[in-house]
């Protein structure tokens, strides 16, 4: 009998090329995804060193961060954005890399495009110069966010130097209550384990809840692994994974499909394999969760009050609560529910997929965005946009008073025209609530699930979607 192994170990071993002098592993990266923000400097370094791209056919590009979602025609109003667009086009043409440019109809946020095209597959290694690369782990891939110098390394050698990670299994067992979503699961996990609780780990998510989750829900959770400090996050591949991949443009077909499924299955963690840590969470204990502070671990359930620094156990905790409340302009010990919002943002690589818009549209029909609230709905990819439009969801959002936009990162990070102004407070389905994240140095972000964003949009306040939309009765 061979020793049982985790998916992480199996994928690592299948891709380990050799041990480097410093003890790290030269790890083969099967799939390299690039976008306009972090790759231009890497191509510059490549040129300086006179190197070529080792496997252009395993490198895929898209444009997401800087694209305006309200302007389709080039040149873009922002010349810097246009320059980044041009640079990516030039680099892809020169090095023979597939680019899902806007004209292809397949452009979108890199973490939405990879899965959608069937490029993201189980048992593979993936790297991208973007921290939310962990999203791809939903397929049982080991996926790393990397820096620009490492992008250069992967371009030049299709490998990177990396130390092996530990694996923490996180079981979420039982059933989620109505109105509780994948987003709440990951906000809860980060709240419990902390924003750096995952340092040195890959998170393996499993248990009843993940077994039942769709691929899109798994992606939402894996996406935010990095917010919990984990270097990667994944779910073991199963029938849900294979069903999602079947028939996608880059999925194997015919006889190759059957072989691929057999191979993919073999990567799933073996029963009884070793985990460096195991955490078990009861699904029923998870409530709709919202952040109150300036990192994604500062979350509470919608029924709770924002913390009071006076109650903090440690000095450190007290000062971080004080800092967060001062920035968020929230008063200690007050309920988060009822806090007035200015902007509602639905989108991002966390929650910008078809199912996110479908779920919201189901409840939003016939409702109106509250007066004074700016609400935008931004599909994560052109394909998601098209799917939504075919189903008439764009109408539902527009009728409710949301602006329906073109695909991109939009207000998740403010490298495009979608930005908060002054100290506006945004109910956001994205993944980061850092100071200034959404474009204004004093702008404020409350992270939540898409349906909670819709509830905030229609009431103009942080609200419990279960009450606003009578979710329990549906």
């Amino acid at each position: 009998m061979t020793t049982p192994k985790s998916l992480f170990e199996k994928v690592w071993e299948a891709h380990a090329v050799r041990t480097l002098a410093n003890g790290q592993t030269q790890l083969l990266i099967g799939t390299h995804l690039i976008h306009e923000v972090t790759s231009p400097q890497a191509f510059g370094m490549l040129r300086d060193l006179g190197l070529k791209v080792a496997m252009p056919h395993r490198t895929f590009a898209t444009v997401d961060h800087i694209v305006p979602t309200d302007q389709l025609v080039e040149p873009y109003r922002d010349p810097l954005a246009q320059a980044m667009m041009d640079e990516l086009r030039r680099n892809c043409a020169e090095f023979g890399i597939t680019f899902f440019d806007r004209a292809t109809g397949k452009q979108g946020i890199v973490h939405i495009v990879g899965p959608e095209q069937g490029i993201t597959q189980p048992g593979t290694t993936i790297a991208c110069g973007d921290s939310h690369t962990s999203t791809h782990g939903a397929f049982g891939a080991v996926a790393f966010g990397i820096g620009t110098t490492q992008i250069r390394d992967v371009l030049a050698t299709q490998t990177m130097a990396l130390g092996r990670l530990k694996v923490r299994r996180i079981n979420v067992n039982g059933r989620l209550r109505p109105g509780v979503y994948a987003k709440d699961v990951i906000l809860h996990i980060i709240r419990v384990l902390g924003v750096n609780g995952g340092t040195g780990f890959a998170y393996e998510y499993g248990g009843d809840v993940f077994d039942r989750f769709s691929m899109e829900e798994r992606m939402t959770v894996c996406n935010m692994s990095i917010e919990g400090g984990a270097r990667a996050g994944y779910v073991n591949p199963d029938q849900t994974t294979f069903a999602y991949l079947k028939g996608r443009p880059y999925s194997p077909a015919g006889a190759a499909w059957d072989e691929a499924v057999i191979r993919w299955k073999s990567f799933a963690s073996d029963p009884g394999c070793h985990y460096d840590d195991v955490v078990t969470i009861d699904a029923a204990s998870i409530a709709p969760t919202v952040t109150w502070g300036i990192n994604p671990g500062q979350g509470i359930s919608i029924d709770e009050r924002v913390p009071d620094p006076a109650q903090a156990k440690a000095v450190d905790e007290r000062s971080s609560i004080e800092e967060a409340l001062a920035y968020m302009k929230l008063r200690p010990g007050t309920p988060i529910k009822g806090t007035r919002i200015d902007v509602a943002f639905l989108g991002s690589c966390t929650n910008g997929r078809l199912s996110d818009f479908q779920e919201v549209a189901r409840f939003l029909k016939g409702r109106r965005v509250a007066a004074g609230v700016k609400a935008i709905a931004v599909p994560g990819s052109q394909i998601v946009a098209l799917q939504c439009e075919k189903l008439g969801l764009d109408r539902v959002f527009a009728d409710a008073g949301f602006e329906w936009r073109a695909a991109g990162c939009s207000m998740c990070l403010a490298m495009n025209p979608d930005k908060l102004v002054g100290d506006q407070l945004c109910a956001s389905s994205s993944n980061r609530n850092f100071k200034g994240r959404q474009g204004s140095p004093t702008g404020r972000t409350i992270l939540m699930s898409p349906l909670m964003v819709a509830a905030a949009a229609v009431t103009g306040t942080v609200a419990d979607a279960r009450e606003v939309f009578a979710v329990n009765q549906n």
Binding site: H15, V17, R18, L20, A21, N22, G23, Q24, Q26, L28, G30, V37, T38, P40, Q41, L51, A54, M55, H65, I66, A83, M84, E87, G129, D130, S131, T133, G145, I146, G147, T148, T149, Q150, R152, D153, A156, T157, Q158, T159, M160, A161, V195, N196, G200, I226, R231, A256, E259, A260, R263, I294, N295, S320, A414, M415, F434, K435, R437, G439, P441
Partner: protein, 200 residues
Amino acid sequence: MALAKISSVTGRAVYVPGNDIDTDRIIPARFMKCVTFDGLGEFLFHDVRKNDDGSDKPHPLNEPRFKGATILLSGANFGCGSSREHAPQAIQKHGFRAIVAENFAEIFFGNCTTLGIPCATAARADIARVAAAIEANPATEVVLDVAAQEVRFGGQRITVEVRATARDALVNGRWDAIGELLDGLPAVQSRARALPYLAA
């Protein structure tokens, strides 16, 4: 490509207090609209250093007495957030050669090491001792001895830790992995042949 062997960094230091200083704080995203890293140093910590009208906010990096510091001291979970190398690049382009903090976010740590910026971890109380010394006398010479894993300053010393793989890479001048990775290319090709999804 011969790389410098970074066994120590000597210079003046500046203490930027706070935990969870994230990469958006280090370099706000709007400054990442660039196709080279040149010029990022100017925008380091921009939004906590500058008012909207361009005037200075109170911040250690704005204080003339700490100008020219090459060692950055900070709190816990430094560099959390994005994988953007723009953050360590901004730190390096601003003139910093080393960082000492309670601990570091994973990707940030790796990015720094690859750029030859040692990231040393130390106990909070010890960082506070260094901070107190430079507060009393900003001209204090601070030595981060990567090899010996200690910081020496004004006749005192504290123990720090530089993770073994990073220490080896820095001290032996192999912090930029590209040369070694390129040497491995034949082995990469044979490894790739065993993985059907990599077929052209």
